[in-house]
């Protein structure tokens, strides 16, 4: 196996791993459709520092999800490269875990079984280690009481928390989040922003978070990248210099959000202008 030692232990497994540095270099991707070829991403380049929380904001169809899938290794770019710690990404793997908009939890397993799923794919762990690790993360998302519950018995917010625990369980270096809270109600979402910030602080991950919700992006990100569509590219970059944990309803946050929303709208208008 990749690791020198024969047996892992829970402490070793739960120890912080160094988060990855990502560099995306001139990534292009186009899709063929009936209307012709659509350039989803046009030579997109960006760097994400170790343990940085980057949010990508843009209108739907601007290629931001495609970029996330390429970073995950689920899709291949037509040209350009994605480097994680200097090594090219060619296939999906548990170093970079993805959280989707749907929880994508497996209905044939209970809550604990779902969190155990990625751990069972990790070598060098005993059965007990895996259970201990899974329980640790269930506690982190505050769902210990529900470890034996079936997936359909959970609320939408609880499902996403299980999905978060499942994504964190194999201790990835990067967390890729594709509008994970878009389908939740406002109250639940706000609670999850708090959870995510707390977990990000304690587990130190590099996070790329895709969303169309500007306030969400400002609340979570160190940096917010504004994506413009047709072809998808980084239009503008905003450094969010606010202390954490951030309050979604604070004036400072709203100021940032309105600036970004303004930029988003002007981008959309110029887009409409060129279309005419």
């Amino acid at each position: 196996m990749r690791f020198g030692h024969k047996t892992g232990s829970v402490t070793e497994e739960l120890a912080l791993v160094s988060p990855s540095k990502l560099s995306i270099e001139k990534v292009s991707k186009s899709f063929r459709s009936r209307a012709g070829t659509v350039l989803a991403l046009d030579k997109v380049s960006l760097n994400v520092a170790e343990a940085e929380f980057v949010c990508i904001v843009g209108a739907s169809g601007c290629g931001k999800s495609t970029l996330l899938n390429i970073i995950a290794g689920l899709e291949k770019p037509d040209s350009g490269t994605v480097l994680a710690d200097g090594k090219p990404v060619t296939a999906p793997g548990r170093e970079r875990l993805v959280m989707f908009q749907e929880p994508a939890l497996f209905p044939w397993l209970d809550v604990l079984g779902n969190v155990l799923f990625p751990l069972k794919l990790k070598p060098n762990l005993t059965k007990k280690d895996r259970r201990d690790v899974a329980k640790y993360y269930l506690e982190l998302v505050d769902l210990t009481r529900f470890e034996r519950a079936n997936i359909h018995e959970l609320s939408g917010g609880m499902k996403q928390r299980v999905a978060l625990a499942r994504a964190l369980a194999p201790n990835p270096r990067v967390l890729l989040m594709d509008e994970p809270f878009a389908a939740l109600d406002a109250l639940t979402r706000e609670q999850l922003y708090g959870d995510l910030q707390r977990i990000w602080k304690s587990r130190r991950k590099t996070i790329v978070f895709v969303t169309h919700n500007v306030r969400e992006a400002v609340c979570l990100g160190d940096r917010v990248l504004l994506f413009s569509p047709h072809p998808g590219r980084v239009q503008e970059e905003f450094i969010i210099d606010l202390p954490r944990p951030r309050d979604l309803n604070s004036v400072e946050l709203a100021t940032y959000a309105s600036r970004i929303t303004h930029a988003l709208k002007s981008g959309a208008q110029s887009e409409a202008g060129t279309a005419k």
Partner: protein, 254 residues
């Protein structure tokens, strides 16, 4: 308890009506025996071992054929779901043969295998196999692609994905296919046993057949009752626990 009592009452009334019809002499007693006569027949054959013997022989044929059908059908269904080549060839064949009532295999089995156990087995396998192939194929095609993508990012690959993600995700479909396969196998075996008298074993179907030959209506009805009870028990013992598990996990209506 109340549900049980109501069901019990329902069947008691049914038997009472039957008895009433017998006593009213609407039909000749040769055509409609009394419930008591059928009960006597079942009691005699149960004590002298005839009934048990026939049941064991029938169930052995059914189970062996059914297991062969399952073991063959599952991988074939996975193949047709995975590769277009298999879907266009084996998939089409399965779809065609599944529409064929399984009784239609009996003449062919008789000419190929003669009056042998192999003929029986062949009919049962044909009854099971194609339903299972089609159900597995359909089940796999209904698995949401997001499950596969999620598993991929967690480091699951090829065979692991098929065994630990796609197969369990398709389980509700596969189980209903297995149930249908069981029903087809059961029907076709009865048809085969009625048609084919073979010396290697005397199953329930043959008992039914001789009931007719002897115009022994109490035997005909008695054996039919046994067949119905076996069908009910198979459902309750074999499939109900699995279905209850699926309903509980998936949150579908029980």
């Amino acid at each position: 308890m109340k549900r049980f009592l109501l069901a019990f009452l329902f069947f008691a009334i049914l038997i009472a009506l039957w008895d009433l019809a017998f006593r009213a002499k609407i039909w000749s007693p040769v055509l409609l025996p009394a419930p008591q006569q059928v009960a006597d027949y079942l009691k005699t054959t149960a004590t002298d071992g005839t009934l048990l013997n026939a049941t064991v022989i029938t169930m052995r044929r059914l189970l062996i054929g059914y297991v062969i059908g399952l073991v063959g059908g599952l991988p074939l269904g996975l193949l047709t779901a995975r590769w277009t080549l298999f879907h266009d060839t084996i998939g089409t064949l399965a779809l065609g043969l599944q529409t064929l009532p399984s009784v239609c295999w009996v003449p062919l089995a008789l000419l190929w295998f003669g009056q042998t156990e192999a003929a029986m087995l062949f009919v049962v396998v044909m009854g099971t196999l194609w339903s299972v192939v089609i159900a597995t194929d359909t089940g796999v095609r209904h698995v949401p692609p997001i499950y596969r993508r999620a598993a991929l990012t967690m480091g699951s690959k090829r065979l692991h994905i098929w065994l630990k993600v796609i197969l369990p995700a398709a389980l509700p479909f596969i189980v209903s296919g297995m149930k249908q396969g069981w029903a087809f196998a059961w029907r076709s075996l009865m048809a085969a046993e009625i048609f084919v008298t073979i010396l290697t074993g005397f199953g329930l179907g043959q008992l039914l057949h001789y009931g007719r030959e002897l115009s022994a209506m109490e035997q005909v009805i008695g054996v039919m009752l046994v067949i119905v009870v076996i069908g009910l028990l198979a459902d309750k013992i074999l499939f109900s626990p699995v279905e209850r598990f699926l309903h509980r996990r998936w949150g579908t209506n029980p």
